[in-house]
Each structure stands twice: as structure tokens, then as C-alpha cells.
Symmetry: C2
Subunit: 340 residues, 2 copies
């Protein structure tokens, strides 16, 4: 018996030491960049600083209650942890607010890809009647122009422009800020060669993630955000009403397709799926394996994958998380409306 | 015993009748169009007719031995059924010649997507030293211009152009021809509502295809040709040397990614994979399930999927298959070179 016990010990020690991820398994992934550069909208410190203020600016909502940060909270991994977010007068949309962190890397924005980049995305919620509910671009710009500090910040951020305070430049500034919102994690250190950055259990979880087939869709720097995929590709996802990408393209074959979400910080960005209907990460992993890959994972397998997913929880850039002092309103600044 | 036998008979009869494909499973697929329209290169009968001649034109190869049709044989489902194709002086490239049928629908051309469309693709092999091996575009155009019949056909196909015989227009004509090379099959009739177009065994095979996860990558009108995917996504594909898409992008994360091939006429377009290394369709299905989806399919499961795949074998457009009478050479037509 002693002999057998030693033998088993040896085996388990060998197994514990044996988790080695071959280079070939890592090529589909890459570390986060420091920022997501854009030729159309080069990042400058002036734009980023203006964008940071605008990101927290609640006076570009009809009620003066909502800013980008209301639903995409920078101190909360870029989400509000609600299935759908509260907007103007308590209204809620039908989709979960995705995290803003690392989103600039995604190949398209929104769950259905209806905006090409973060600049285009930024223009949407401000005018959406169930979100920030501003009546039109003109009112947004009049609000910003009413505060001399903003006019000066726009002038600095867009020195070539004669009339720099406009809706496009507002979106450019917010976009430039968002292009810096990266959250590198232990996974990046591992990808950069620090093999001790992950435990054996985490490495085993990564291999399980790949062997299960998750990386067919979840790949790249964001571990997702590179394609659309059908929710329910191997069997119909129960109760699915939202037509996803088909709402944008009007094409039958895009029905129930959504952007594959990035899995960076996924541990912290519950609830899951486009409608926030799944509360726990274990459940989300189990459901995705079943409906996207036709595999019934055991609890141990789910747990192993989740162990790795937690290594994607990154460091939030502390200097961006502190709400900035916003420019003071003036007599010209439009008043909030709470009643319509 | 009799009772048990009747019971089993009933069950098997019920099972045989029970194969019904819900609409929701079909949305990722769509019937082939009659032609793949292009704003950049509108299809006209004149371009198509010129393109058809050029497709069979062997005098735009250095040895006068090779045409598009040498490797993409229109009477052989658009392929030559060889692992790699013979080109100039017996040389062979390192990739399998994919079928030209339905290829115009693909989101990109070549196994690595290095050409955006069929027009761009058509320019490649003519100048490739291991394929048609023409020394330069000028010699190609001089060859075509040496034959008055071609000059006239180019003039008719491109009536707005002052000097219509040029390399771009040659590619446009070949592209316009290829945009018509569609092979509708029983699968299209089924998708268009004729539920009797498929047998129960074929319908069961389709459901097995989807449930296995094949449709994660093989979707749309071509049952593929909509994305790149890694060969060996769940475990390394043995002996893989060709870096695929990474050769084009030089990006580490694209290593071993290839365009997901369309499965139209897959029964007839052996051998399989980018290097033609897999001889039978059964083997190809088994390998894809194993390396792309992490599933070990039984022989019966493979056979069921293959039963459905055979419904993708379409009708070849008979009028395009007959080699046309090519314009006669003239004294000005460059002579073939067989020695260099």
C-alpha cells in the first residue's frame, strides 16, 4: 500500500508539473496594446483629456443624470452589472451594456455591429430616447458651447478647426479616450513570455478552453470581438427573440447572430449574453459549450475554464477612474428636463 | 417476440418519418444566386463571352499549354482532382487548386485570401512562374492584341475604353464569366421550399452537420467561404507547415488560418484541404470534427454528414463546359517557350 501511495503521489506530482502550453496554442492570442491607434482619429493627449471629461459629462443627457459612465462605469470594469441599463426616465433598452474597456479593439461596435468604431458608437447613446435622450445634435453642441472651458478644450484638441465644438469632434474626443482604455492582465504577462504568470490550474483551464473549441470564436487580443456568430449555432437557443445582426443587415442569414464578445474582465462583467440573462460565468460557459459547440461540459470542466478566464481580469487604469472636475455650467447652459 | 418486433418497426417507421428540419436551422444558409453581381464589374453578355474564351486561352501561358481551365476544369466541377496542380515545365505549387464554381461568392479569394475578388484572383496565375509563367503583363497583352478577333471582343466588352485590350479588362472579363459559374443543387430546391427535394437520410445528415458544429464556420450560400479559421483550432494539426493567412498579413495570430472552403460540390472536388493531403470526403469530415471541433465522430456519423454533403453537388452549366473555338494565332502572336 505504501508503495502504491508513493506511486500515485509521483503521478500527481508529474501531472501538476506537466501543464505546459505549446507555443502553437498561443498564436491565436496576443497581448493588449497600450492603446488602439487610429489613422482617422490619431490619439493626442488633448483629445484624451477632453474625451475623459465628456465621458463623465451628464449635462449631455436630457435629464442631466446620465453620462457614458452611467452604464459603462470605469470603476466597475466598464459595466453596470445590470441585465439592461437604466436610461432616461427609468426606461431600459433590450440589450446588456458591454464593457468599454478594450472595446476599441473590437472589429465593430454594439452587439449587432451597427457602428464601425468607438467614435461612431459614441454618437449613439446620447441621442437614443431610452438612454441619454438628447433631442438632437444641435442641443448637445449648444450645451457644450455654453461652457467656455469646453470651448477652450475643443480648441486645444482640434487646433486646425475653425469651429471645433461639433458633434463629430465630440465623438472623436470620446473615441480617443476610449482607445486608451486597455486592461492588461496576468494573461498578457504570460503571452509576453513570463511562464510563471499563470498557475498550472490556469494553464490547464486555458487548454480546456481551446480543446473545447471556445477559441474558434473567442480569439485575438480581446479573446473575442473579431467576428459575428449565431447564438444557438448547434441548436436553437431557447426563447431567443432578439434578431441581432439581422436587425442591421435585414438579411435572413444574419438572424440571431451577435458580435462574439471579448472575454477580457469577463469575471467582473456579469450578467452575460446580449440580454444579460445569464447571471454567473459558470452558467455562461456551460451554455455556450452546449449551444455553440454541442458539448455538455462537466462542472469540473466548466470550473477549469473559468479558472483561466479569471486571468483575463486586468488592471484598471487608476488615473481614468477618478471622476474629473467638470466645467461649471453658465447661465446659457440648457436646464435639465425630467418630465418629458 | 412478435409484439416486440412490431413495436420496433413502429419506432423505426416513426423515426424515418420524423426527420423535419426546423426553419430556425436553415437561416444560416441560402440558395445560390444566378450570378454574383458586382458594382465594380457589372456583368454583361459581351464580357462573359470574352471571359469564357480567355478562361480557356492557353496562349497566355509561357508554354501555350496552360489556361485557367487546366487546373480549374469546368467539366470536372472546377478542379483537377490533384493534390497540387501541374504548371509551367511540370512545376507544382504547394496548395490545392480550389474549384472555380461558386467561388465568386466567397468573401476573399485564394486559400489565404490574398485577392479580394475573382477579378483580382484572375491576374495571379497567369504571371506566377510555377503556373502559367508569363513574363509580364505586357507580353500577355501583346499576345491578345496579336489576334484581331480578341481586339474586337475587348472593344465590344469595354465600349467606353479607348484602348480596351489591357490587363485590367482581361481580369474583368474573366471575373464576369466566373460570376456566372453557379451550380444550384437539390439543396437549393430544398431551401426554396421543396421539402421533398431531400430524403430523410439527407435531412438527418444536415442536422448532424449542424449539431456537430460544422456550421460554425461552414455557413451561407456556399456553406463556407465567409471567414478564415485556424486549421487545428482545438489541437495542432499534424505536420502543418503552410502558415496560411499569416503569409499575407505577417501577423502571428493568423498563423495556420485558411479561408474556410465552400462545400458546394465537395463530393466531386477531392482531394481535400489547402494542400490536397486528404483523399476521401469521409476522412476530411472526420479530421475536421477532430481538429476543428474536438469531436470524435463515429463512422455512422461521418457517413450521415457525407450523405447530406452530397446534396450540394450541383448542375454544371453545360453551355460553359464545352471548350470554345479560340481566335486563330497570327504571325504576330508570340511563340511558346518550352525550355525556360
Amino acid at each position: 500500500m505504501l508503495r502504491r501511495a508513493s506511486f500515485l503521489l509521483l503521478i500527481s506530482a508529474a501531472a501538476a508539473m506537466a501543464v505546459d502550453i505549446p507555443e502553437s496554442r498561443l498564436r491565436m492570442f496576443k497581448p493588449l496594446p497600450q492603446a488602439v491607434e487610429s489613422q482617422k482619429n490619431p490619439i493626442t493627449p488633448e483629445k484624451v483629456e477632453l474625451g475623459r471629461l465628456l465621458y463623465y459629462e451628464n449635462r449631455i443627457s436630457k435629464s442631466h443624470k446620465f453620462s457614458c459612465n452611467s452604464c459603462h462605469k470605469l470603476d466597475q470594469f466598464g459595466v453596470d452589472n445590470e441585465p439592461t441599463s437604466e436610461g432616461h426616465r427609468g426606461q431600459r433598452g433590450d440589450r446588456n451594456s458591454p464593457t468599454v474597456y478594450n472595446a476599441a479593439l473590437h472589429f465593430a461596435q454594439f452587439w449587432d455591429g451597427r457602428a464601425a468604431d468607438v467614435e461612431e458608437q459614441a454618437k449613439g447613446p446620447i441621442l437614443n430616447p431610452v438612454e441619454m435622450a438628447m433631442p438632437d445634435e444641435k442641443t448637445v453642441i449648444a450645451t457644450l458651447k455654453s461652457m467656455p472651458q469646453y470651448v477652450e478644450l475643443f480648441r486645444k484638441a482640434f487646433p486646425q478647426d475653425k469651429d471645433p465644438v461639433n458633434y463629430e469632434n465630440m465623438a472623436r474626443a470620446i473615441g480617443a479616450f476610449e482607445r486608451k482604455l486597455m486592461t492588461p492582465s496576468r494573461w498578457d504577462r504570460f503571452l509576453q513570455g513570463d511562464k510563471a504568470a499563470l498557475s498550472d490550474a490556469e494553464k490547464a483551464g486555458f487548454l480546456k478552453f481551446v480543446e473545447t473549441g471556445c477559441a474558434t470564436c473567442h480569439m485575438g487580443a480581446c479573446v473575442g470581438g473579431t467576428m459575428y456568430q449565431k447564438l444557438g449555432v448547434v441548436k436553437p437557443y431557447p426563447g431567443l427573440k432578439d434578431e441581432g445582426r439581422a436587425k442591421v443587415t435585414k438579411r435572413e442569414e444574419d438572424r440571431f447572430f451577435f458580435k462574439v464578445p471579448g472575454l477580457r474582465n469577463i469575471e467582473k462583467t456579469w450578467p452575460y449574453l446580449h440580454d444579460g440573462s445569464v447571471k454567473t460565468l459558470d452558467e455562461a460557459v456551460k451554455l455556450m459549450a452546449e449551444y455553440e459547440l454541442g458539448k455538455n461540459l462537466s462542472a469540473a470542466e466548466v470550473s477549469s475554464i473559468v479558472t483561466w478566464l479569471k486571468t483575463l481580469t486586468g488592471e484598471i487604469p487608476a488615473d481614468y477612474v477618478k471622476p474629473p472636475a467638470l466645467p461649471p455650467s453658465t447661465a446659457k447652459t440648457p436646464k435639465p428636463s425630467l418630465t418629458d
